[in-house]
Subunit: 324 residues, 2 copies
């Protein structure tokens, strides 16, 4: 109920998944206001799909604090995670409020044995073939070195399964390459990562993020959140700058009009929609969170991601790694 285009993107995503027929055994629960969902249903090709509508009357808004969201027990987020707790569904997917989804998931589903905190990452595009997973992206503000080490373990396992990479390169976001650089948290985390079984390649700096030096980059949620939001705003800034230039005269407008489609073409490659969403890691369940502006294609990818995570039994692997 809380995404930008609910329920259009959600139903479009399911319809795309249904048409591509990847797994005919999947059953869907559409959770939210029944009238809104029913009204939109005819616009999507769900032929042959096994689904059920679960009505909820409350809405968790994007700016709701976790404490507020936790009291809305008849929201689509709460209900969906509750269904998973009851064993009725295997995975929950949402393009709604990230913090609320993390809090409700942690409380209802609990954490995987050995995981001190649940975490969520974000994919940054890179110059290489694969994106880089940065975590934590904002769930854990004051993190301890041990948490960051666990995030690295969970992130690397997820990355390995997702891209079929045997030993994903793990790095620590820091202000210099040398292990003597950094704040207290970074210095202590560097030591833990160096002593771990991970394929730790050392520190990377802000300037390395977009160039694919590492597959997985860990940082505290404060830094991760600021970096993520800044990066997202950069493209908005560029668009505004280009529009501002176009507004300065007809000739400039014509020039921009001519190259705008090409620029769009170039940026398309770096679109987060390709990734679709990221799982909550460390939570004892399968919960995929997407951007509030997720398109149908993004939602389709989120569904595929959930099925992959279940089929490779990611959480069991995380439990084994964290207890080792």
């Amino acid at each position: 109920m809380g995404s930008d285009k609910f329920p259009i993107s959600e139903l479009d995503g399911v319809a795309r998944f249904n048409q591509h027929g990847i797994d005919s055994n999947t059953m869907f629960y559409f959770i939210g206001d029944e009238k809104t969902i029913t009204k939109e249903l005819p616009n999507h090709n769900l032929d042959g799909l096994d689904y059920e509508i679960v009505h909820t009357s409350e809405v968790v808004h994007m700016d709701d604090e976790a404490t507020v969201a936790l009291r809305k027990r008849n929201s689509s987020i709460y209900k969906g995670i509750e269904l998973q707790k009851e064993g009725k569904v295997d995975a929950f997917i949402s393009a709604g409020n990230t913090g609320a989804t993390l809090s409700i998931s942690t409380i209802l589903l609990g954490r995987i044995a050995g995981a001190s905190r649940g975490t969520i990452g974000t994919f940054f595009p890179t110059m290489e073939k694969r994106p880089t997973l940065i975590l934590d992206a904002g769930a854990n503000i004051d993190s301890k070195p041990k948490f960051l080490e666990e995030f690295a373990v969970m992130g690397a396992l997820y990355y390995k399964e997702m891209f079929q990479i045997e030993n994903p390169k793990v790095a620590l976001l820091n202000i210099g390459e040398e292990e003597t650089k950094g704040n207290e948290l970074a210095l202590a985390t560097h030591k833990l990562l160096k002593a771990s079984k991970l394929n730790f390649i050392g520190n990377v700096e802000g300037r390395d993020v977009l160039f694919g030096k590492a597959d997985v980059i860990v940082c505290d949620g404060f830094t991760g959140n600021i970096l993520l939001k800044f990066a997202e705003s950069f493209l908005v800034f560029l668009k505004q700058a280009i529009r501002g230039y176009a507004d300065k005269g007809l000739y400039k407008k014509l020039k921009v009009g001519m190259f705008a489609p090409t620029l769009k073409d170039i940026f398309k490659e770096f679109d987060y929609q390709e990734q679709g969403g990221v799982p909550l890691l460390g939570v004892n369940g399968v919960v995929i969170i997407g951007h509030g502006s997720s398109t149908g294609r993004a939602v389709e990818n989120m569904i595929k991601r959930a099925i992959e995570i279940i089929s490779v039994n990611l959480n069991k692997k995380i439990e084994t790694a964290l207890s080792g």
Copy 2:
């Protein structure tokens, strides 16, 4: 001696300043390898300029640690700051190693009464007419709330003098707008800023940085450094992405060739060269640091900046504000 184009940019900057004849009373000391400087001198119009060459035999490299740089007492940075300590010069300008310049300045010149730490900021371009000053940009990794408050006071005073703005808007970089958001440092700093005499507008997020919400944004040096380096790399990333697209075929190359000059034109507005450099704030002297790749125009602006800071007696104003 440590900048990318030494001594070309440096001498070009002085020549530009000399031609524009803003202050005929300024005397220059060119500090560095005498042969290198003497050889380059004829390529620049220094007619009527009062200058002297001060020979130094050591070079502080860009990747020298501060501890290494401090031992190079015959470097251009050390010598230049020493001349200021001895009262022979009023300001020192460098496009060399920032960390080394800060350390040597702090040790030789000391700090302004009331300033717990020296700090350096960086200008981010914005959609508004003026750029935003973010500090600390990497000098103070583990900062205390009091340090950040002092950075805000010093940054606001500098911004006020530089842009003739009576009450610059000061903000705290954070992960949410509410004052209950943030890590321990941000929560404590928010309280201090709120209680201060500054024009504190509250928290801003990573997404707000480029849109001119605040004139001065404070953060710890860890976050500031990562953000600054990430931002600088973003344009490199874009250029590579566009080049990669052009390499995919002749038609694509032609399209890119057609719009590249326009894009360059658009980006020019957001070029840091316009600002020229930033002063070390909190140090008991006038030291301006520019980017290693500073052009002659940037160096000219650094000279103007130094003269401005001296003429408005910025350090005295900082001392008064910090002791108030």
